[in-house]
């Protein structure tokens, strides 16, 4: 038994339904990230938002980017951010005031930004917009990274090493200052 080509009653394609559901999950949880009053909850909604985006990458024919999204963002960056939240939250701060006083100006600015970007997207005729989407072979991506762009790959690995060493150096406890304080 196989599914019909389009959804019954509405005539939508199944791809569109999946796309709309993933887009709704992603945008809804991104809104909850910025509107939530509890920062731990913000971090967990951020994980959900990244998961929705990974699904959209998979739907867009880039399975390797979807896998990297899950590994890098959900597996590494979210965990790092949640650890930092646990290290820096104190009960002393007034938890009720999560927004700056100019939050409503920020809301207006971001709505205007959305309007500008949206208008420029809708008014532009993209030459390739009618082309059929293609699924990229992982083999082709691997060739491009490890053969054609191997210099950029090495530069990025050096950058990551420098960032990790720098991060440890900045966040390290200053032992001489500790002895003075104790």
């Amino acid at each position: 038994m196989s599914l019909p080509e389009t959804m019954p009653y509405t005539g939508w394609r199944w791809d569109d339904l999946v796309f709309l559901a993933l887009a709704g999950v992603m945008l809804g949880s991104a809104l909850l990230v910025v509107l939530s009053r509890n920062i731990i909850r913000s971090g967990l909604f951020m994980v959900l938002s990244f998961l929705g985006l990974a699904g959209i990458y998979a739907l867009a024919g880039s399975p390797i980017v979807a896998a990297a999204q899950v590994l890098v963002y959900i597996g590494a960056i979210s965990v790092l951010i949640l650890f930092a939240v646990m290290l820096t939250q104190s009960k002393a701060g007034p938890a009720a005031l999560v927004f700056q006083r100019q939050a409503w100006i920020a809301a207006i600015a971001s709505v205007v930004l959305l309007g500008l970007i949206g208008a420029s997207i809708l008014l532009t005729e993209f030459p390739a917009a009618e082309a059929l989407p293609t699924v990229h072979e992982t083999r082709e991506v691997a060739f491009l990274i490890f053969d054609a762009n191997v210099f950029a790959f090495e530069v990025v690995s050096l950058l990551l090493l420098a960032a990790v060493v720098g991060g440890i150096f900045i966040a390290r406890r200053d032992e001489s200052a500790d002895e003075e304080g104790a």
């Binding site: 791809d15 991104a30 910025v34 938002s49 867009a60 990297a68 960056i77 971001s110 950029a152």
Partner: protein, 103 residues
């Protein structure tokens, strides 16, 4: 709808605008970093969408997106280290109390 470039780009624009709002409006430094991650993800989605609808680009779009992810990971590492270092001195993660450079 999943076959049109405009839908992907509008989705990326929405995610970017949400990230902008969070970055401008939140008081907590870590919440601001989360908003920056949302904005980086929006740009990555735009890159993947353009690559999807440009057949001559081939798989280059995925490669660019993977490099952007690696640089974003480096940025998150250093950003969180800076926030933790400031927290150790000032005992607060709220950015509007980091006013010592203004005085």
């Amino acid at each position: 709808m999943s076959q049109s470039l405009d839908a992907y780009l509008l989705l990326a624009a929405g995610l970017f605008a949400i990230g902008t709002f969070g970055f401008l409006a939140k008081r907590n430094a870590i919440a601001m970093l989360m908003s920056i991650e949302l904005m980086l993800n929006a740009v990555n989605l735009a890159i993947v969408a353009f690559a999807l609808f440009t057949p001559s680009l081939g798989a280059q779009g995925s490669v660019i997106a993977l490099f952007v992810m690696a640089v974003a990971a480096a940025e998150a590492t250093v950003g969180l280290a800076i926030v933790i270092a400031i927290y150790r001195n000032r005992r607060t993660p709220l950015v509007d109390e980091y006013a010592s450079m203004r005085e």
